[in-house]
């Protein structure tokens, strides 16, 4: 039975219905020639204004590392070690676990701090390699966020909403800027084996077209699941199969003229190209020995954070817009003294190496690196403070994020907290502000990067966010 609702447009229909539209298009192109340029299905037409950065690598420390033991130096905590945190300091909201706590003894920073580089940025001995590149970093000590729980706070960092369903930052950026490499996805995520953190929900493109979704690359042979041909199917057969499919799809498209069909076709083709591009980028055998040395001995073991950092550089080299590295197990409610040195050892050298490797290749000119978690940790111990053990609870009111690279001031320590690292006293930076700034660095106006869905235009920064101009170089 012929479906009369979807009959192809006749010449008369087309002329009748579209002349006004054509007129509008030509008028729009007279007003702004960019409107007609580079338009691809389901995405915007490139940056709004000159970008400082073309791509982002987000080293995401899932679980929230303790800013007080790594970055935000508070000597008062050392002086008052073991003393009950005065109620007058706390104020504001407390988590249920904190409220249930009988005592809140202050805990000193676990390791010695000193000032690093020419900039004199404070950093603890826990991150000796990051400390060596302090002059490349911009440290924001005045971050704050909404949620006190991991999942919502992670979701908030990535989507500007605590509730799942919105597109994540990588998807927004993919939507806004498109791809620089047709053979790889625009948004790729890597997870540390053994320290998994984050979830596939953080890769979601929400209501944006699915091509902007993050793709997780796994360590080892089969980086992208189900990408390789099944046994018995050769590359040739696959090509032939795709060609036939193309013809069918084209026929379908001729009848329906649904752009989603074209999108599907281009995704099939992308997957086919990825069969060669993914193994190429994931194979680090060709990297010279001194590069492995730079990233540390772990970098030879697939699935480690160091190995993922090396891969992140390779992906950035190939123009992938947004690379996300997840490293979990930073949630040190107890046993922090034993656990945090391990985490730091896993990430310290490789994080710094990634930044310096990008720099020596000239890639830091237009790559932005971000380092941090979803919130901070408390200045008092959760659970008992003993001679050699303690923990720290979630603390969303003040934490630290690091940035490095394109368009960000080097060696800058921005914002400040009170003597207890509890509240921000100077230059507050909300997650929305940070996200607005990241988009700004990519040449995107966070108020104009929006997508209409269910009658409303949505943004990464919801209806908030101010670009933190002070940290821009």
């Amino acid at each position: 039975m012929k479906d009369h609702h979807h009959k192809p447009l006749s010449r008369r229909d087309f002329l009748g219905k579209s002349t006004l539209g054509l007129g509008a298009i030509s008028l729009a192109s007279l007003v702004n020639p960019m409107n007609l340029y580079g338009s691809t299905l389901g995405r915007m037409r490139g940056p709004h204004f000159a970008p400082r950065a073309k791509r982002v690598i987000f080293l995401n420390m899932i679980g929230a590392p303790s800013q007080l033991d790594l970055f935000d130096y508070k000597p008062v905590l050392t002086k008052m070690h073991g003393v009950e945190l005065p109620d007058s300091v706390m104020g504001g909201r407390v988590t249920a676990t904190v409220a249930a706590q009988a005592t809140k003894p202050i805990v000193r920073p676990l390791y010695n701090f000193s000032q690093r580089g020419e900039s004199g940025m404070w950093m603890s001995d826990l991150l000796p390699h990051m400390a060596q590149i302090a002059d490349e970093l911009c440290m924001i000590n005045s971050m704050y966020t909404e949620s006190v729980q991991h999942e919502p706070a992670q979701m908030f960092t990535h989507t500007g909403s605590e509730i799942p369903g919105r597109p994540t930052m990588g998807s927004w950026i993919s939507y806004g800027l498109g791809s620089e490499n047709e053979n790889l996805p625009t948004y790729i995520a890597l997870m540390t084996k053994g320290n998994e953190g984050g979830s596939t929900r953080l890769l979601s493109s929400g209501f944006l077209p699915a091509e902007h979704q993050g793709v997780q690359f796994r360590s080892g042979k089969d980086a992208v699941l189900f990408l390789n041909n099944p046994p018995g199917v050769t590359g040739e057969t696959r090509r032939e199969q795709l060609d036939y499919l193309q013809k069918l799809q084209q026929k379908n498209y001729n009848e329906w003229e649904d752009p989603a069909i074209k999108a599907k076709m281009s995704q099939y083709e992308m997957a086919f190209r990825m069969q060669t591009s993914v193994p190429e980028v994931m194979n680090t055998d060709g990297e010279p020995e001194h590069i492995y040395e730079l990233y540390g001995e772990d970098s030879k073991k697939p699935g480690t954070f160091a190995s993922n950092c090396l891969l992140a550089r390779r992906l950035a080299e190939r123009g992938v817009r947004f690379v996300q590295l997840y490293h979990g197990n930073w949630d040190h409610h107890s046993n922090l003294p034993k656990a945090i040195p391990k985490r730091c050892k896993e990430v310290d050298q490789a994080s710094a190496a990634l930044i310096m490797d990008l720099k020596q290749r000239g890639l830091l000119e237009d790559t932005l690196v971000i380092w941090g978690g979803e919130f901070g940790r408390t200045s008092f111990s959760q659970g008992q403070l003993t001679k050699d053990n303690f923990g720290r609870d979630h603390h969303p009111d003040a934490y630290t994020m690091l940035m490095a690279g394109a368009g960000v001031k080097k060696g800058l320590t921005y914002g400040a907290t009170d003597d207890f690292g509890y509240h921000i006293t100077e230059n507050k930076v909300h997650v929305h502000d940070l996200n607005a700034t990241i988009l700004h660095l990519l040449g995107l106006d966070h108020e104009r990067l929006n997508y209409k869905y269910q009658g409303r235009r949505f943004r990464l920064t919801d209806v908030h966010g101010d670009v933190v101009k002070d940290i821009l170089s």
């Binding site: 702004n32 490139g46 390791y111 060596q132 190496a353």
Partner: protein
């Protein structure tokens, strides 16, 4: 003690009495006219109120006359106010006599006379208000049509900051608003005129208003920056010319007080940048070259040709038609160079990496006037390529990793170009040469390989205290 000024300053207080009394009387008269005889039954009360108003008016006029000697007010406007005030009193006097002497006159005629007086009072009061508060005070926040101001350059939101002349567009309107009323050709208080640019450099009683290059010796700057309570502070009444304008004037004088001076990002302080953004909406924050320069858009045909020729080419922004161009192939030739030459005026970022680019081919490339970043890594380029790079006036960063560049050519490039960052990993430049070049060109970044220093394992404070 100066009796005249002491009493004179009661003028702004006293003026409200005649206004109040007369208008009260006017209300009585209206009530009478429209038949509210239960409230106003006799014309006597009206005449009494008018007479008290007249007496108060005479007191106000006398105090005003004393105040007029203070020479704080522009003479022409003062005269208007004075004359209108006297006229009001005279008409008031006639009206009262008329009402007393001709009781039989028609009510309407009497009311007409009173209405004229009310209008005169309002006009006099308005002129007086203009004298103390300034002519723009009343309608300053009103709709534009009331203000009658013409659209200034700075009210246009699309203004290009580099087109703003400090004197003409900012300082002159301020002088006009705050100073010229007393310092003009008719009335040059202190022997000072501030009507034109030239006037700023003419000797006045207390010295030259502006000494180019020296704000501290400039009398104009000194007087406007004195504390308000100082007798010499200018303007003598009303608000000061404002902190931002004082800072702008200071900056302008310090920079030479040129009539065509503009703000230059590298010459103005961070504070002044912030003030200009806040009060004038002018952003002089240092911006990269590629955001300041304007390029025309290219035809779609040329862009298409470029893209079909193996290049990735994107405009920097919606209204920024500079190009970010990257060659995707692994071997570049004559044809590709020609394609690039077609768009050379638009290129600002250029990446020709790993494409067998030789010195000769680079020579074949036309100068690229707005080139700021060039990535020429992984090419058989030698020291000869430095000559081309030196010609690119705005080149800021150049990537020569994995090329055959040598120390001599690099030294020349660094000394004779404005390049700020150069990448020279895996080249003929040795480590010793890099360190000596880095010393010679301390303001430039020479980026080669990177290795970490070895660090001992850190100990936590708990471990440290256990050891002790």
């Amino acid at each position: 003690m100066e009796w005249d000024l002491f009493l004179g300053r009661f003028h702004p207080l006293l003026v409200h009495l005649p206004i109040g009394f007369f208008i009260l009387g006017y209300i009585f008269e209206l009530l009478l006219k429209f038949g509210y005889r239960s409230i106003i039954s006799s014309r006597k009360i009206i005449i009494l109120t008018y007479t008290v108003g007249l007496l108060a008016g005479i007191a106000a006029a006398l105090s005003g006359w004393l105040l007029s000697f203070s020479d704080d007010y522009p003479l022409s406007a003062l005269d208007d106010h004075k004359l209108l005030g006297i006229l009001t009193l005279v008409v008031m006097l006639i009206l009262i006599f008329y009402q007393i002497k001709v009781p039989a006159a028609r009510d309407t005629l009497k009311l007409l006379g009173s209405t004229i007086v009310v209008i005169l009072i309002a006009a006099t009061g308005h002129l007086g208000g203009n004298l103390t508060h300034g002519p723009d005070y009343l309608v300053e926040y009103g709709p534009g049509i009331l203000r009658g101001s013409q659209m200034g350059l700075l009210e246009n939101s699309e203004v290009n900051p580099d087109s703003v002349l400090i004197f003409q567009d900012i300082l002159k309107p301020v002088l006009q608003d705050k100073c010229v009323a007393c310092h003009n050709s008719e009335q040059s208080r202190g022997g000072l005129k501030l009507e034109s640019y030239r006037d700023l450099f003419k000797d006045a009683e207390h010295g030259k208003p502006v000494v180019a290059g020296n704000p501290e010796k400039s009398e104009l700057f000194r007087r406007i920056s004195l504390p308000a309570e100082d007798d010499l502070a200018m303007p003598p009444r009303g608000n000061s010319i404002g902190y931002t304008n004082i800072q702008i004037l200071k900056h302008w004088i310090a920079e030479g007080a040129d009539s065509l001076a503009i703000f230059k990002s590298d010459a103005i302080s961070g504070e002044l940048i912030a003030l200009l953004i806040r009060d004038y909406g002018l952003d002089y924050s240092p911006r990269p070259y590629y955001e300041k320069v304007k390029a025309d858009s290219l035809s779609e045909g040329i862009l298409k040709e470029l893209r079909n020729g193996g290049f990735r080419a994107n405009y920097l922004g919606e209204n920024n038609f500079l190009l970010d161009v990257e060659y995707g192939g692994d071997s570049i030739g004559e044809r590709e160079i020609q394609l690039l030459n077609q768009v050379s005026k638009n290129i600002t970022f250029l990446k020709l990496s790993g494409c067998k680019l030789s010195d000769e081919m680079l020579e074949g490339l036309s100068p690229i006037p707005h080139l700021t970043r060039a990535d020429l890594s992984k090419n058989p380029l030698t020291g000869h390529s430095a000559a081309y790079l030196m010609e690119q006036l705005h080149l800021e960063a150049v990537n020569l990793n994995d090329t055959e560049i040598d120390a001599e050519a690099l030294g020349k490039l660094l000394s004779e170009s404005g390049i700020a960052r150069v990448y020279i990993r895996n080249t003929k430049v040795s480590e010793d040469e890099i360190s000596s070049l880095s010393q010679n060109y301390a303001d430039k970044e020479i980026i080669a390989g990177f290795t970490f220093e070895k660090v001992p394992e850190a100990k936590s404070v708990f471990e440290q205290s256990q050891e002790e």
